[in-house]
Symmetry: C2
Subunit: 219 residues, 2 copies
Amino acid sequence: MTDPLTQDPPETEEAQAATKQAVFNAAERLFALHGFQNVSVRDITAEAGVNLASVNYHFGSKDALLFEIFRRRTSELNRERARMLHEAGARHGGKPPVRDILEAYFAPPLRWGSPDHDRRISVQFIIRARSEGNAEMREVLRNDVSHLERFANALMAARPDLPKEDVYWRLHFVLGMVHNNRFAEFDRLHHLSGGITREGDVDALLKRMLDFAEAGFSA
Amino acid sequence: MTDPLTQDPPETEEAQAATKQAVFNAAERLFALHGFQNVSVRDITAEAGVNLASVNYHFGSKDALLFEIFRRRTSELNRERARMLHEAGARHGGKPPVRDILEAYFAPPLRWGSPDHDRRISVQFIIRARSEGNAEMREVLRNDVSHLERFANALMAARPDLPKEDVYWRLHFVLGMVHNNRFAEFDRLHHLSGGITREGDVDALLKRMLDFAEAGFSA
DNA sequence: GCTCGCGTCGAACGTCTGTTTGAACGCGAA
DNA sequence: TTCGCGTTCAAACAGACGTTCGACGCGAGC
């Protein structure tokens, strides 16, 4: 836990108020665990051990706080995905195969979301934001399109034989596979299978997902 | 629109109070469109054109109303899926192939969720319930397991060569594909593809999904 | 014709919500 | 020491919320 608030965007002030950081972390945790609407400003400030007014003082409003967490975590995740896609391109002379493209999209949230990983909460937060998000947040997700476009283009380059329409639809299916990785869904799977599915083994899960998605893309 | 409230469970009273039905329909519509937490009892009763107290009088509480809608729509959907699975079994001597099993799971929500279909709102309601649901509703979804088990068993019978663990995981991926069919997701896909993906053609979409999922299962 | 019970009504209740206020505090600079 | 500024604090605000209450209308049964 090395200062997840300031580790990434170069804050103007090196030493941010400890209160602000405590609010940020507590809010992310509670939102990820219980949902946005089920967490009050009082819950957040109590968890953070700070005064009630801190949220409005440091972030302006509850929504603005939520949005700031969302924006930061989303950009972190997308940056990592773009990085892996770029690396895959470098490895294959600018035209990575389908499997490597999908891996660039799957791996970051899967690894970060694995148990005992620092960013597990952040990933859960992002997943929750996708379904409970504000109109404002959905607007950002729409600009996500520019990010998704890179993956769509890479896929079309890898499969020039496939009609574009098919590529888009299959990408849509693939997104569904990823976004379904919530606590509740894993729980149900674990319960359904009688406990033979282990969520912990991230690499094995990644391999399973890639096998499935790659085969789907090659239909 | 032929009395969707009484068409299915044999109500004790033939002529239910028109108020109760109006509340039921208005609540389902508003919940499906705006989410549970974003719709107040006052919104519902205003939309239904009835008195504020009607919700508590007829259903006990807002949560109970929500739960009743959820339970009814879920059981309707699951019954249709089970029916199609049974039919597929009858067609193939009790051992339907993977594609027919998946179709029994995909087709009902897809058809009912298509534009201009009576049950489009109900499907959207169910999808929303899956992510925003109560603890109580998640409990029901856990009993959904008995429903899912039929599909898991059918899949294991169709692919006895595949380790059970793999079947469960791939079923999990397939569920993700289905649950991703929300308004917002379609919107993003439509926007991303520049409008070449048409949501309206349900049969074509079903075929695409089956192609993808069947190939994934045969990996 | 009277009464009983169901359904509906307007009005209010208590609680929880996000936000605002103004005073107090801590601390480095003058 | 004094000033000024950024931060924290307890307290209160106004509104929205789900729910409850008592009265009223009205058709059925005795």
